[in-house]
């Protein structure tokens, strides 16, 4: 099938399915067809093609896309001048001959776990349109889960790839902090922001990840490490890897469907051991405080001048964040170094740790509270209780979906820094047992 035919089919499918899901905020028909035609021409001439030749993908709308204002899910950013250049991650996927088809919906300024957006409309879960997609990479997850595109780009600060991957039942990769370039993305929390791919299988995650690797002088945080290709070792399997379940904080409050998912993964991998990440609860709290403070600092001028143009749910959290005493933020960063050292000691004895990605499957759109560990609490800020202690110290994580009732949920496969290969190998091995898979929504 030609790249042009694939792009055309993709655009037709998006036109048919997107109105119900609301995953896209911009569709780039001319650009997609032009790229696809160029690929077909190169193929006809016998020229070299990249490893993602013809693969349609879309990017969360905090990635710069040339010619579009970078919305970052906001009303205010609609007034920005169009980006003059694509984000690094977009350019690298295009260099691998993937075909960009559009920009995707997000929770405003990425300060969101639900996928709700008062400006662009809520993104909906393709498995049940009355439920949340999760966020903030809401469109990125929903577009893949709904079969609109096979690959998307998201970002993850405290869980924004892993949470929507869980709710939408797809695979997501939050790589090691600094592994993939953030250049050309609208920021949220410089201390914690990561970018990464979402896809329907571990192989596609690996292919996208490999295409995006490499240092980038446009991103001071991007590590200048040699490219360490994962795709060639993906089918090595999980045998011989030392894998444990995360206990303690990561067991407290899980809903029955998540308990089922964890049990199935543990059985498939033969996991016998459970370990505790020391002070994970405090780690989550410190991540929360750093996020609130840095996020507020970024948006301070907007809070002063344009507060009424912000989503109230985001605005009020940002205002509160601006008031956090600096001594507490400084302490959070010191605690972060302490916690990182303790967790890396654990990785001297274990290759991977498995934990839930979310406490529950996707809640109903508009739901404001839920009961976690017998305590009723606000939903929005607390969905990330299991993801935050991990991204806090930049560990690589694959979110791998387990088809359970009522809706899929994902597990986090967590590895040591720079060992994305291990997390992806385990995800692939689980796929081969059938325990993890991205289910197709019933109505598509």
């Amino acid at each position: 099938m030609s790249a042009t035919a694939i792009a055309g089919d993709t655009l037709t499918r998006i036109a048919r399915l997107n109105p119900a899901i609301n995953a896209f905020t911009a569709i780039l028909k001319e650009r997609a067809l032009a790229k696809a035609q160029a690929i077909d021409q190169t193929r006809a001439q016998g020229g070299p093609l990249g490893p993602l030749a013809g693969v349609p993908f879309a990017a969360k709308n905090l990635f710069d896309i040339a010619g579009l204002p970078t919305l970052a899910g906001s009303k205010i950013n609609r007034e920005r001048a169009p980006a003059t250049r694509d984000a690094s991650a977009v350019r690298r996927l295009e260099a691998a001959d993937a075909v960009l088809v559009g920009a995707l919906n997000i929770g405003e300024y990425a300060y969101d776990f639900t996928g709700e957006n008062v400006h662009d409309g809520d993104c909906r879960n393709p498995h049940d349109l009355s439920r949340m997609s999760g966020g903030s990479s809401s469109g990125a997850a929903a577009a893949v889960a709904g079969g609109l595109v096979p690959l998307s780009l998201g970002s993850d600060t405290n869980g924004s790839i892993r949470v929507p991957s869980s709710f939408c039942g797809i695979f997501g990769l939050k790589p090691t902090y600094g592994r993939l370039s953030r250049a050309g993305t609208f920021p949220f929390v410089a201390s914690l922001d990561h970018v990464g791919p979402l896809a329907r299988c571990a192989r596609d995650l690996a292919l996208a990840y490999d295409a995006m690797q490499g240092g980038d002088t446009d991103d001071p945080v991007c590590a200048d490490r040699p490219v360490e290709m994962v795709t060639p070792v993906l089918d090595t399997g999980a045998a011989g890897l030392r894998i444990a379940l995360a206990g303690g904080h990561f067991r407290a409050g899980v809903f029955p469907e998540v308990r089922t998912a964890i049990a199935r993964v543990a059985a498939a991998l033969g996991i016998k051991a459970e370990i505790e990440l020391p002070e994970a609860r405090r780690a989550r709290a410190a991540a929360y405080v750093i996020t609130a403070s840095e996020g507020a600092a970024l948006h301070l001028d907007r809070l002063r001048q344009r507060a009424r143009d912000l989503d109230p749910a985001v605005r009020d959290r940002l205002i509160a964040g601006a008031m956090i005493p600096a001594a507490l933020v400084a302490k959070a960063q010191k605690f972060r170094r302490w916690y990182r050292a303790r967790v890396l000691e654990i990785f001297e004895h274990w290759d991977a740790i498995v934990a839930p990605a979310t406490p529950c499957s996707a809640p109903a759109l508009g739901q404001q509270t839920f009961v976690l560990d017998k305590v009723e609490m606000a939903l929005r800020p607390n969905i990330g209780v299991y993801t935050q202690p991990i991204s806090f110290i930049g560990l690589p994580v694959v979110a791998a979906p387990v088809p359970v009732d009522p809706l899929p949920v994902a597990v986090q496969i967590i590895a040591a820094p720079w060992r994305e290969d291990i997390a992806l190998r385990i995800a692939r091995a689980l796929e081969q047992t059938g325990v993890v898979a991205a289910p197709c929504p019933a109505h598509t």
């Binding site: 405080v289 609130a292 008031m323 010191k334």
Partner: protein, 63 residues
């Protein structure tokens, strides 16, 4: 770290908003206060975690 009482928090929010030149409409105050309460409660969980003076922060600046 002491839990601030409700009046203290109101005064703190008003004073800080003034210093930062942050407009807070009356209708927003309850939510802002609620978020700040949660944040301070979370901060209390690590604020008194014992770390030596020599403990370095996680981010490292290179000249």
């Amino acid at each position: 770290m002491k839990n601030p009482d409700s009046d203290q928090l109101d005064q703190f929010i008003d004073a800080t908003a003034g210093l930062l030149d942050l407009p807070i409409e009356l209708a927003w105050k309850k939510a802002v206060k609620g978020h700040l309460e949660v944040t301070l409660r979370l901060a209390a969980s690590f604020a008194e975690f014992p770390l030596p003076d020599e403990a370095e922060p996680a981010p490292v600046f290179v000249a």
